[in-house]
Symmetry: C2
Subunit: 218 residues, 2 copies
DNA sequence: GCGATATGACTTCTGGGTAAGTTACCACGG
DNA sequence: CCGTGGTAACTTACCCAGAAGTCATATCGC
């Protein structure tokens, strides 16, 4: 009220500063959401913090006040996304599925988890992010965890199919992560497709291509 | 000689300008090679043209003289890489392989073609490149061609497996391109691995997972 | 000499980052 | 119920490094 009156009187245009009553924790979440989307969509290098601030409805210095730097903000986004994804993959890994079934269940979990924030997956694979410093540490931490779980699953799968060559496993792990990656991309490009539909599709495709044979223990 | 003498006399440091006898066409190829590596490795946004010029052993204005702008240079790199990859994929598509066999042969061709320039594949999938203008046109042109060929191969494959759903085909095409992508990445990360070894590995993995069944017509 | 090949030294502008100040909420004494 | 001072939330306006892009000029082959 008072502010509006003063602003309206307007001879000296009043500053727009001053708290809007949003507590720090909440504001940080808003910023993280906007920043994750931007980073995940355009990549680290091509993301502009002024735009992020504008999209979040605040000014740039507030972003810096809360996150310190562009790298700090990225690291925070990364940490959230990495923990979210890593926890879910680990939860499924602790289940009893093996072979292809484990793969399908993992995808299932990812679709459910990332519905509404499909871009998060991309954060972990950004080639334009600095390869040294704080970001690299966080990236390494999460990718190592996820890679290890994927490696474990692929090792099981290939063992069932009779292949125990370590480099074969490494290649197959990379291919598997590439599949997940591309499925997420496709999903981002087709926003009308629900998570449930994706699961159906993926299951159908796996079954069609791999049959019920090929080392699949259901 | 004369130049060295003059430079050595050195009270007024002479300009380093003047032709070095390298014809434009050759110089352009040198620049394209260096730029493709940089763009493919760091992405469009994170690539610095001063560095590209330095790595090519020339000065920045020469790059601008020959390619007009950063976008122009990128478009030129893209056009070379896209045509190279597209032509090879098309050549294989015109062969008689179908189903999984066609996939393996395509990978075979890519490994042979991109040996020594493994980063080229990345140019077509750079998220930090401008999504409008000349670059977008060139990207679209080549990705559409490659996607179409991949789509064609996947359609055949899935038809053999009894799936003709258009969206299933679309998803599977994306997954296939993701597999190629990740295999190239793995290859970049393991420079000691030869193209022949990659082909062996991939063949072994496909056989182990898909068996000789699953719609494979060899 | 002339045109192609080349460069040093600029200008411009984008975007990360900062200094300094403004406003609102809130706890607490009166 | 009313100041009132302290602190947290916020902004405007700026700095400046570094990268895109340009200009005038230099050298060499023919």
């Amino acid at each position: 009220m008072a502010r509006t009156d003063l602003a309206a009187r307007g001879s000296t245009p009043r500053s727009n500063a001053g708290t809007k009553g949003v507590p720090r924790a909440e504001r940080e979440q808003q910023i993280l959401a906007v920043a994750s989307l931007a980073f995940g969509t355009h990549g680290f290098a091509a993301t502009n913090l002024s735009e992020v601030a504008r999209d979040a409805g605040i000014s740039k210095p507030l972003v810096y006040n809360y996150f310190g730097s562009k790298e700090g903000l990225y690291a925070a986004c990364l940490d959230d996304a990495g923990a979210l994804v890593g926890d879910e993959i680990e939860r499924i890994a602790r289940g009893d599925a093996v072979g292809i079934e484990r793969g399908i269940r993992t995808l299932d979990g990812m679709f459910a988890l990332l519905d509404g924030q499909r871009h998060l997956w991309r954060l972990l694979h950004d080639r334009t992010a600095p390869a040294t410093g704080a970001i690299a540490t966080v990236v390494r931490q999460h990718t190592e965890r996820i890679d290890k779980l994927a490696h474990e699953g692929v090792t099981e799968l290939l063992a069932l199919a009779g292949d125990t060559d370590e480099r074969d496993i490494s290649v197959m792990t990379a291919a598997w992560l590439g599949i997940v990656d591309s499925l997420m991309d496709w999903w981002v490009a087709h926003p009308d497709e629900t998570a449930a539909q994706m699961v159906e599709r993926v299951t159908r495709l796996f079954t069609a291509l791999l049959g019920d044979t090929a080392g699949v223990a259901r």
